[in-house]
Amino acid sequence: MNQLNVNIKLKQHQHHGDENSFDVIKNLHFEQQSDQFICLVGPSGCGKTTLLNIIGGLDNNYEGDIQIDEQIGTPNASFVFQTPRLLPWCNVLENIQLANETDISPDTIEQLLLELGLKNSLNSYPHHLSLGMQRRVALARAFSVNSDLLLMDEPFVSLDQPTARKARQLLLTLWQTQPKTLIFVTHDIEEAIQLADRILFLSDSPSTIIDDIAINTPRSERTSEHINSFRNELRTEHQHLAHLL
């Protein structure tokens, strides 16, 4: 069980050399069930990355608390960042091994890379891989770690459409074989509708949750027509979200 409770009363950003601070996040609460896939959608600059950093324990300078299974503390999270953030001087295998605290057998990694279509890249350095492949390595790294929570910050941004589609499909396959409590930040509503169990919409900063929409359609039935009609439905029924759709 990895049930997550996020309760942030206030997060401020201090400008360098400036007494003024401004509120990035204010009164943001949500609960997430174990192994639920949540997408966070919000305008750019609303503090989505800051929110992920708080949830993942990279940023402790805020008022409020994060609970996992009703215990206050830092969840054991793994990250997929906006850029792959692989160590350029380590090959794919070493990059994944380094992220693991306990020794992970090369066979397990090989199996994971096979599922992601990277079986020939085990000994390649990141420089020799395309951006799409580097992002898949970052995905493999996140799934190789034994974590309670997976946090993804626009992991497929700046990929071309077919590559991004393939990457999303791979993510779903991986997530269905190794279910994890997952938070996925995106600004692409179609991506969110395709992937999520539930979409949280954030306001401009100071950001808070302005809507919480569950998607009950099985993922296999989420064709592009279905995604479009779902989006149109949202548009008519939730007018205050129009700028995010």
Partner: protein, 247 residues
């Protein structure tokens, strides 16, 4: 080494020797001996065991002070580069250390600690240390914050982060300060030996100066130019290549 660059450096060194030879024969003076004479003196000094003895002692001092200065310099430089407050506080110390003339630190070390080996090595380290600190601090300021954040997110821990995330990024800065450091330490070790030791290259050169033996001074100089070349090609260059593998 590619063939063309080998031929290049041979030709270039050959030209230098030729200029030396021609100038020496035109001048025909005991203050500028010809290269042939210098090389025979060099061979004699090696055969008598005198040169290897003094060169060995100098190399020993060089190695100890080099590694001490590099280790301390990397640790302090990294700390200053990563912590703004500490850096602001100690910046003036660093400027003072950088600007004290080498001769002053050497003499002070001998006066305070006596004419002993420790004082000699300490004096060399104090002279080299601020340069290493400044170079490494620059590198530490330019570390990739995204990779550091990644190492925090994946709970790398202190040593794993230093070894796999920070050191590879500092490597070019470490190599740069190792190269300039070696050159600087050579020069300082010789002065230290000249002022307060009774062995080593510096002591010998001082002796030859008093005897006005220019041929031996040049022979000793040639011998350590040779040693520096050897260190460059057998240690530094392979290290460079090894670390650039991933590029």
């Amino acid at each position: 080494m590619p063939r063309s660059s080998f031929i290049n450096s041979t030709l270039s060194l050959g030209l230098l020797l030729l200029i030396w030879q021609v100038t020496a024969s035109i001048a025909a003076s005991p203050v500028l001996p010809s290269p042939v004479l210098v090389f025979t003196t060099l061979i004699d000094a090696i055969n008598s065991g005198e040169l290897p003895h003094h060169l060995g002692i100098t190399l020993f001092r060089l190695a100890i002070s080099f590694f001490l200065a590099m280790l301390l310099g990397i640790a302090i430089g990294l700390a200053l580069g990563r912590h703004k407050q500490t850096n602001l506080f100690f910046d003036s110390w660093l400027i003072i250390l950088l600007n004290i003339p080498a001769l002053v630190t050497i003499i002070l070390c001998y006066i305070w600690f006596g004419l002993i080996e420790t004082a000699a090595i300490f004096a060399v380290v104090v002279n080299k240390l601020p340069n290493v600190i400044v170079t490494i601090r620059e590198g530490a300021r330019n570390l990739d914050e995204e990779l550091i954040e990644m190492s925090v997110a994946y709970r790398f821990g202190k040593w794993k982060t230093i070894r796999h995330v920070i050191m590879p990024q500092l490597y070019p800065y470490i190599m740069a300060s190792a190269r300039t450091g070696l050159a600087l330490i050579w020069k300082i070790v010789l002065v230290v030996e000249l002022l307060g030791r009774s062995d080593g290259m510096g002591y010998q050169i001082h002796l030859f100066f008093q005897l006005f033996d220019i041929t031996s001074i040049l022979a000793y100089t040639v011998s350590f130019i040779f040693v520096i070349q050897l260190i460059e090609t057998t240690i530094l260059n392979p290290l460079d290549k090894q670390s650039q593998r991933w590029k």
